[in-house]
């Protein structure tokens, strides 16, 4: 008798059901501003995935832009250290 080791440790994902996929797709739908604003219930899964990819790309671009801006700010100001300390206190 061979004992089969279960490959999945999460019981919820051992069988992927329609409901799980739909649930996750609708969760993504809530996060995406484009689709959320349309308030349409008839958005296909492929559409949601495409919008998700576009949204992630736009977030990556924003991170790139902000990183560039921050590196310029660090270079341009002599009081960057003090400003960083101030920010640390604000964010704690």
């Amino acid at each position: 008798m061979s004992s089969r080791r279960s490959r999945t440790r999460q019981p919820g994902c051992s069988r992927i059901s329609d409901d799980q996929i739909n649930d996750l797709v609708s969760k993504l739908q809530q996060l995406l501003p484009e689709i959320r604003d349309r308030r349409s219930d008839k958005v296909s899964a492929a559409n949601v995935l495409q919008e998700t990819c576009n949204y992630i790309r736009s977030l990556h671009k924003e991170v790139d832009g902000l990183s560039e801006r921050l590196s310029e700010l660090l270079a341009s100001t002599d009081t960057a250290q003090a400003a960083i300390i101030r920010s640390l206190l604000v964010h704690k």
Binding site: L49, I56, S67, L74
Partner: protein, 165 residues
């Protein structure tokens, strides 16, 4: 036992946002301190600094989330591998951290339809560690990754505002 460095259970109750903000600000401090000791202001140096800020932001967010998410583990592992190649830090064995293995997608039409599309493939490339996930996990990880990216952008924007005043 998970390495303490990546364990969130020993941390006091703080939000991902505040942990990210503190970690990222400390990284900026270090980058700025190195800038002050360096005399060159070449375009190459500027480009390097921008990349360091970008990497610091991603790694700070992944550290704030910890090892409980596959996408954050992928970023942290990538960082360790890069540091290992530079010879500055020894790469720790990550055997205790559960790995997401490629699982057979148990067929139902909806899953196959979604999983086989080129949008799904694009998504796998955009989410860190996405190429090793099955569809169910990929969607869950994507949702969490988007939430954290949004937080990251908001905090970075706020820091840029403070630094420009």
């Amino acid at each position: 036992m998970n390495p303490k460095r990546f364990s969130s259970s020993t941390r006091p109750s703080t939000t991902v946002k505040s942990r990210f903000a503190c970690g990222f600000l400390r990284a900026l401090w270090r980058i700025n301190r190195q800038r002050r000791t360096s005399t060159s202001a070449s375009s190459r140096e500027i480009c390097r600094r921008y990349l360091r800020v970008k990497v610091a932001a991603d790694v700070s967010m992944a550290s704030a989330v910890g090892s409980r998410r596959a996408w954050s583990r992928a970023i942290l592992l990538r960082k360790l591998r890069n540091q290992g190649q530079n010879g500055t830090v020894r790469v720790r064995r990550m055997s205790n951290i559960p790995r997401m293995r490629k699982r057979n997608i148990c067929g139902n039409k909806c899953t196959e339809e979604v999983a086989g599309t080129c949008q799904a493939e694009q998504l796998r490339k955009l989410v860190p560690g996405g190429e090793e996930m099955d569809m169910c996990n990929l969607l869950g990880e994507t949702a969490h990754y988007i939430e954290c990216l949004t937080t990251q952008v908001n905090v970075m924007r706020r820091i840029a505002e403070i630094l420009s005043t």
